[in-house]
Amino acid sequence: MDSGDQAPAPEYSEDGVDLSLIRWMLTLTPAQRLEFLEERVNEILAIRERNAGA
C-alpha cells in the first residue's frame, strides 16, 4: 500500500462496538465461526498456561 494513502477510519457504533468485526464475522458460515472461536480459545489457554503464576 502507498504510505501516502489514508487508512480508512474505523467504524464504531454509538455504544462503541466495532462494526467491522461484526461484518467480518457475518461473512463466515456458522461452522467457520465456531472453528475460529475454538482456535482462539485454545490459543488463549495456551498463553495462559505458559504464563501461569506470572
Partner: protein
C-alpha cells in the same frame, strides 16, 4: 491441559441423540457476534428418555461438577430433571447443562425461538436465536450479561441489514 473441543462436545451430544438447544456465548458466536466464550451452554429437554440419553453422554465425557472438581461429583438423573443450572467440566472443557434459562424458559418453550444450523462437517445443532438471547440477557441484568448486550444488538442490526430487512 486438555484441548478445548467445543465441536467435539456438541458432536457427542448429537451422536448420543440428546435433544438440546445451544444458548449463551456460543450461540451468539454462531450468529456472528464477535465475542469469546470458554464454555458450552445447553438447555436440554427434560423428558425421561432424553435425560437418560444425556446422562449417558455426560458419563462418556467424564463430566463432573466444576465446583470442587477434586471430589469428582457426577451429575445424577435427579439433577437433570430439575430446572437448575449444572456447571460441569468434561474431558473436552466446561459444559453448562441448564434445565431452564431466563425467567424459567424451558427447552419446549425455547424451540420456537431456535433454528437448526450446520456447525461442522456433518454436524447440525439447534441454536437459540439472537433476538431471544438478547431478551434473556437484558432480563437477567447482571453486569456480565449487560456487558455483551451492545455487541449482540449491533450484530442483530448488521444481520438484518445484510438480509435486507
Amino acid at each position: 491441559m486438555p484441548e478445548h473441543k467445543l465441536t467435539a462436545t456438541l458432536r457427542a451430544l448429537r451422536e448420543g441423540g440428546v435433544e438440546f438447544i445451544l444458548a449463551g456465548g456460543l450461540a451468539a458466536v454462531l450468529h456472528g457476534a464477535p465475542v469469546t466464550t470458554f464454555d458450552v451452554d445447553i438447555v436440554h429437554s427434560r423428558t425421561d428418555e432424553n435425560i437418560a440419553r444425556l446422562l449417558a453422554v455426560l458419563e462418556s465425557l467424564d463430566a463432573v461438577f466444576r465446583i470442587q472438581p477434586e471430589r469428582r461429583l457426577k451429575p445424577a438423573r435427579s439433577h437433570l430433571a430439575g430446572t437448575g443450572h449444572l456447571n460441569l467440566i468434561t474431558r473436552y472443557g466446561p459444559l453448562d447443562v441448564l434445565g431452564s434459562i431466563g425467567s424459567g424458559l424451558t427447552f419446549a418453550e425455547l424451540v420456537p425461538h431456535s433454528t437448526e444450523l450446520e456447525i461442522g462437517e456433518g454436524l447440525r445443532a439447534r441454536v437459540l436465536d439472537l433476538e431471544t438471547l438478547i431478551e434473556i440477557k437484558a432480563g437477567l441484568g447482571s453486569e456480565k450479561d449487560l456487558a455483551t448486550l451492545p455487541i449482540l444488538r449491533r450484530t442483530l442490526e448488521e444481520k438484518a441489514k445484510r438480509q435486507g430487512r
